[in-house]
Amino acid sequence: MAMKFEKKAEGLYMLDVTGYVCPHPQIYTKKALEKMKDGDIVELVFDNPSSSESIAAMCEAQGNEIVEKNMANGKYVWKIKKTADAAVALSR
């Protein structure tokens, strides 16, 4: 399945990288967050377990907040909120 990026509502996006292996999920997530505005939320859907550790570490380092984490049957659905601090970190 190809990568999908959709706008679900004002300030809420959905990035579906199901089926993708490393490094695609983390790179797409980084790029999506770079392009979003402060306070926007992206609902990230992926199924590559090793990306979970990298994405969590990336959000922690850049100050983006993972507001919700769900996982069922090997499929992860995370909500990540872009913060103002992260905007500075990402622009480096």
Binding site: Q26, T29, P49
Partner: protein, 478 residues
């Protein structure tokens, strides 16, 4: 019962089934003959490696790739922890004369090989060992990578004909001068002449010997190979990673942009980087210890059975097919990945009528024994099993069919890794992890190449994903 509970129960049954199968293999083979315990030793260490790799999401490919691509240092840290632990345990083993390790010739070829391998592992989405454990998670892309590495190696090592024209005359002459057995035909085949005509002429450099110490001594193993060869460079590498990727964000959080940063703040930041991913660090810890112990166990079994190589055991058991002209098979005595992958395809090719025993790789040293009795093959199979058990128990197991896009990356990446690992005499494990941990300078040379390769691969992927994101985002005001 809810759907989640049903899945959980089913996963637990599968995990139990895999463990039960491996126990059955060990018990039944031991009942046939005690020599088969040698295979079981490889098998269970492989199983432990698989569990550690899956638990820690331990993939060498992600170390510098994730650092360059998304600024995440967790895997560089994990690998350095594992290497230090592996090196520490190995130093004991080496000092007591129980090491099974043979250092590799050191030359720029290791760096070039590492570079090719590094690009490949980024394209493929996993290194050689990472692709094995991800296969255990049900990942079809990773299985494709493993197949691509295996087929490429088995083909690459026997390329002759037109490829002989690419061999420098000096390599050809030097290869012939080695006077290898006629059955090997060392003057024919690109890899044969690369090995016998170039690689074997390069010096072997161990850190212990650079300091004028005997490697099989406590001073040599601990001061030379462990302290100077591993601890110092690993610490420097982590300091560089901290300074360039972690420090700025850390100080921004704790010391108002770093203006009032104290040495204590810096130390806290450095330690925070080390402890940032407990899973990875813990996996590195167990992996390092297990790798060192495997050498001890295998050497112990060799002493018990009075052999230097598993080929003798196979021969005593009546399994003569696929032994090298020296009567040996691939039996590293420590964790290794790529050669056994080449071997099983080599065995298959041979059964299909390809005479591939006239090259150095298969014919002189490693052989192509039946995969069912190949100790190193069982290590890899059990690694997949160990990873599967871990993934099943944490409900992360999922069968995933490769998409066309990912299948292309997997095949291309596997091809580059296959070539890189044969040029470098090993992969991220055999040519980097094990060699670095055991004080072999060529390990760091391969590692430098891998880092360069990861950088090139990330540059390419940044361009590729940017292109795709731009298309997807064109409709939004972003």
């Amino acid at each position: 019962m809810s759907e989640a509970t049903i899945t959980e129960t089913r996963n637990q049954r599968w995990a139990l089934g895999i463990v039960g199968f491996l126990i059955l293999v060990s018990v039944l083979s031991f009942a046939v003959h005690e020599y088969y315990i040698y295979i079981s030793a490889y098998l269970w260490f492989g199983f432990v490696y698989g569990m550690c790799l899956q638990y820690g999401r331990f993939c060498f490919a992600s170390a510098f790739r994730d650092l360059f691509a998304v600024g995440v240092p967790r895997m560089v840290v994990g690998i350095m922890i594992a290497t230090i632990l592996f090196s520490f345990v190995s130093a004991f083993v080496t000092a007591t004369g129980m090491s099974t390790f043979h250092a590799a010739p050191t030359s720029i070829a290791a760096t070039i090989a590492g570079l090719i391998f590094g690009v490949g592992m980024v394209f493929a989405g996993g290194c050689a060992s990472g692709s094995l454990y991800k296969t255990g998670e049900g990942n079809g892309v990773s299985l494709l990578v493993v197949l691509s590495i295996s087929i490429t190696q088995a083909t690459f090592v026997d390329l002759g004909g037109w490829f002989n024209k690419l061999v420098p005359q000096s390599w050809h002459e030097s290869a012939l001068a080695k006077k290898l057995p006629a059955a090997i035909n060392a003057g024919d085949g690109w890899v044969d002449q690369y090995l016998a005509g170039y690689i074997w002429n390069q010096p072997i450099v161990k850190f212990s010997e650079l300091l004028g110490l005997k490697d099989a001594s406590f001073a040599g193993a601990f001061l030379g190979d462990f302290l100077v060869g591993v601890v110092v460079p690993a610490t420097v590498l982590l300091v560089v990673v901290y300074l360039f990727w972690v420090r700025k964000n850390h100080l921004k959080k704790v010391a108002k942009g770093g203006e009032n940063a104290t040495f204590g703040d810096e130390l806290a930041g450095y330690w925070g980087m080390i402890a940032s991913s407990k899973r990875t660090a813990l996996a590195g810890l167990f992996l390092g210890i297990a790798c060192g112990l495997q050498m001890l166990v295998i050497e112990g079994l060799r002493i018990k059975f009075g052999v230097r190589n598993a080929g003798t055991l196979l021969s005593r058991l009546g399994h003569d097919f696929g032994l090298s002209v020296s009567g040996t098979v691939f039996d590293p005595g420590y964790w290794y990945v790529t050669t056994q992958e080449a071997q099983w395809v080599g065995w298959l090719f041979n059964k299909l009528g390809w005479n591939n025993m006239d090259n150095i790789y298969f014919g002189l040293n490693n052989g192509i024994p039946n995969p069912a009795i190949n100790p190193a093959d069982w290590m890899s199979l059990a690694l997949i099993g160990g990873a599967a058990v871990m993934a099943l128990l944490s409900n992360e197991f999922k069968f995933k069919k490769p998409t066309k896009e990912l299948a292309v990356w997997a095949i291309v990446g596997g091809l580059l890794m296959g070539i890189g690992s044969r040029l470098g005499l090993g992969c991220n494990v055999g040519a980097f992890f094990a060699r670095v941990a055991l004080g072999d300078a060529s390990g760091w040379l391969f590692g430098i190449g891998m880092i360069g390769g990861a950088y090139i691969g990330v540059k390419f992927f940044n361009w590729w994903t940017e292109r795709k994101m731009a298309k997807e985002m064109a409709a939004f005001d972003l």
